[in-house]
C-alpha cells in the first residue's frame, strides 16, 4: 500500500482477533492489492482499545470499513466477504471509464 497520498483512505474497525475481524483484515488486503492496485492508505482501529473513534465515524458494529475516496465516504459493515460488491462500490470511475 502506498504510504504517501493515496486515492483511497480506508479505516477498518475491528475487534481484536475475533473471527469476523480477522476475515475482514484478509479481505481488505485482497481488495487493496488485487483490485485497488495498492493505492490505499489503510488504518486499522481496534474498538476494544478505542471505540469512540468508531462512534465518531457513525460505526456501531465491527468489523466495519469506512472508505473515503473522490470526496465520497462509504461504510461497509461485516467481514467484507462480498469483495466484488465492495470493489464495485469503490471503483465507480472505472465503470465510467
Amino acid at each position: 500500500m502506498n504510504p504517501r497520498q493515496s486515492s483511497y483512505n480506508l479505516v477498518l474497525f475491528v475487534a481484536d482477533s475475533e473471527p469476523n475481524s480477522l476475515l475482514a483484515r484478509r479481505n481488505l488486503e485482497t481488495i487493496c492489492t488485487q483490485h485497488l492496485e495498492g493505492d490505499c492508505n489503510v488504518e486499522v482501529v481496534d474498538v476494544l482499545e478505542d471505540y469512540q473513534r468508531a462512534l465518531d465515524h457513525g460505526v456501531f458494529v465491527t468489523p466495519a470499513l469506512v472508505a473515503r475516496f473522490d470526496e465520497v465516504t462509504a461504510t461497509f459493515l461485516g467481514n467484507l466477504s462480498h469483495v466484488e460488491r465492495i470493489v464495485a462500490a469503490l471503483t465507480p470511475r472505472k465503470a465510467r471509464i
Binding site: A15, E18, S21, V47, A54, L55, V61, P63, L77, G78
Partner: protein, 407 residues
C-alpha cells in the same frame, strides 16, 4: 435539490444503513456491537451457541422430570407442557399447547387457579390438590404448586404449575387414620371392659364381705351365743368355786369373741352402708376412726346422693383407706373428710396436718399406702387421684370421678 428531496434522501440513507446493520447481524458477520457510550462486547456466535446449549439442557431437565410441568398465560392458555404432563392427561404435545388449563384441571380446582392468577411478586406461589378420576380407574391425587411469573415491571406474564402424584401418600394417610380409629375403638372397648371388670371385682369383693359378715353373724355369733347360754346355765348350777372361776373366764372369752365377731362383721359390711345415706355412712366411718386415735371432721352434704351402689361402696372404701392411712402414718390427732359435687364430678378429699410423706415415691413404688390401688380404681371409674403432701406440714388426698346418675 428541494428540501423535500433532501429529507427523502436522508430517510433513504437511514433506511439503507439500518438494513445493512440488520443484514450484517443476521449474516453473522458481526463480532461486536457498540453502544452509545460504551462497548458491548457481544460474541454473537458464542452467545447463540451457549443459548442453544442452555435451552437444550433446560429442555432435557424439564422433559426428564417425572413431575407434571406446564406453563400457561393469565387467560389459561397452555404455552408449554412437558412429557409427563401430556402423558398423564393423555394428550399429544400439540393438543396440550393452546388448551385451557381451566378445562384440563378438575372443576373443583378453578377457584384455586383463579387465586394463582391473583398472586403477587411478594407472594407468587400457591398450593392445591387435584383429584382426577379416570374411567374405571382408581382416583389419582396430584399436589400442585402454582407460581405466578412477573416481568421487571411487576406485571403478570405467565404461570407455572408443577404437580406430583400424592395418591400413595393420601392412601397411606387414610390407612393410618383407619388404623388409629380402630385402635381408639379397641382402646375404648378395652377400657369399657376393664371398667366393667373392675365393677365386677368390686361387687364380688363386696359380696364376699357380705357373705363373711353373714357367716359371722348367722353362724359364728349364733354358736358363741349358744355357748354363752350353756355357760350361764352352768353358772346357775351348784358348782365348786374353781368351776365357777373357770366358767366366769369362759363367759368372758365368749363375750369377747362375740364382740370381736360383731366388730369384724361391721367392718366387712357396715349395715349403715346399705341402709343409710352417704353422709350417714361417712359419719359412722369417722366415728370408727376414734378407736384408732384419729378424730375425723366429716363434711358431707346430707342431700348428696350417689345413684348406684357401686359408687357408694367405692367412696366408702376409698375414704376408709385414706383415713386408715392418716391414722397409721400421719401422727396427726385429726383429719378432715369432705365429699362434694363440683362441675359434674364427685370429689372426695381427706386432709391432715401430720408429718407428710414423699407422695411421688409412694405412688411409683406402690409401697404401704394403698394409693396405687386407689388411683387405679379411680381411673377405672373414669376419675383421677391427686396427692399433695409436704413433710412436716401435712397431706391432702383427693379423688375425683364423674357423678353416676342418681337412681
Amino acid at each position: 435539490m428541494s428540501t423535500d428531496e433532501t429529507d427523502e434522501d436522508k430517510l433513504r440513507d437511514r433506511l439503507e444503513r439500518a438494513e445493512a446493520f440488520v443484514a450484517a447481524i443476521r449474516g453473522k458477520e458481526v463480532d461486536v456491537v457498540i453502544g452509545d457510550d460504551h462497548l458491548s462486547y457481544v460474541r454473537l456466535r458464542e452467545v447463540e451457541e451457549e443459548l442453544r446449549r442452555s435451552q437444550a439442557r433446560y429442555r432435557a431437565i424439564v422433559e426428564d422430570q417425572s413431575e407434571l410441568i406446564c406453563r400457561w398465560n393469565p387467560k389459561g392458555g397452555i404455552t408449554f407442557a412437558n412429557g409427563a404432563f401430556c402423558r398423564f392427561l393423555r394428550l399429544e404435545p400439540a393438543e396440550a399447547l393452546g388448551s385451557s388449563v381451566f378445562e384440563l384441571m378438575p372443576e373443583a380446582d378453578r377457584p384455586s387457579l383463579r387465586r394463582a392468577i391473583s398472586g403477587t411478586p411478594e407472594l407468587p406461589a400457591s398450593q392445591r390438590e387435584s383429584r382426577f378420576r379416570g374411567d374405571g380407574e382408581a382416583p389419582v391425587s396430584i399436589g400442585w404448586t402454582d407460581r405466578a411469573i412477573f416481568d421487571d415491571a411487576g406485571n403478570l406474564v405467565e404461570l407455572q404449575s408443577v404437580g406430583h402424584n400424592v395418591t400413595a401418600e393420601r392412601q397411606a394417610e387414610a390407612e393410618i387414620s383407619r388404623h388409629n380409629q380402630e385402635l381408639e375403638r379397641r382402646v375404648a372397648d378395652r377400657t369399657r371392659r376393664l371398667r366393667e371388670l373392675h365393677g365386677e371385682v368390686m361387687r364380688a369383693e363386696q359380696r364376699e364381705r357380705e357373705r363373711i359378715a353373714g357367716l359371722l353373724h348367722d353362724e359364728l355369733q349364733q354358736t358363741l351365743a349358744q355357748a354363752r347360754g350353756l355357760l350361764e346355765e352352768i353358772a346357775g348350777m351348784r358348782v365348786s368355786r374353781d368351776v365357777e372361776a373357770v366358767v366366769a373366764k369362759a363367759e368372758a372369752l365368749v363375750r369377747e369373741s362375740i364382740d370381736t365377731s360383731r366388730s369384724l362383721a361391721r367392718e366387712l359390711h357396715p349395715p349403715i352402708l346399705t341402709m343409710g345415706t352417704l353422709a350417714e355412712a361417712m359419719e359412722w366411718l369417722g366415728d370408727q376412726m376414734e378407736r384408732h386415735d384419729l378424730a375425723v371432721q366429716v363434711e358431707v352434704s346430707s342431700d348428696l346422693a350417689v345413684g348406684d351402689r357401686d359408687s357408694k361402696v367405692f367412696l366408702f372404701q376409698t375414704a376408709r383407706e385414706l383415713l386408715f392411712n392418716a391414722a397409721k402414718h400421719s401422727k396427726a390427732p385429726w383429719a378432715r373428710l369432705r365429699i362434694c359435687a363440683d362441675n359434674g364430678d364427685l370429689q372426695l378429699t381427706v386432709e391432715d396436718r401430720g408429718v407428710g410423706f414423699d407422695a411421688e415415691q409412694a405412688l411409683e413404688s406402690g409401697s404401704g399406702y394403698g394409693l396405687l390401688t386407689i388411683r387405679e380404681r379411680a381411673m377405672l371409674a373414669g376419675g383421677s387421684l391427686n396427692v399433695a403432701s409436704t413433710p412436716g406440714v401435712g397431706t391432702t388426698v383427693s379423688v375425683v370421678f364423674p357423678i353416676p346418675p342418681a337412681v
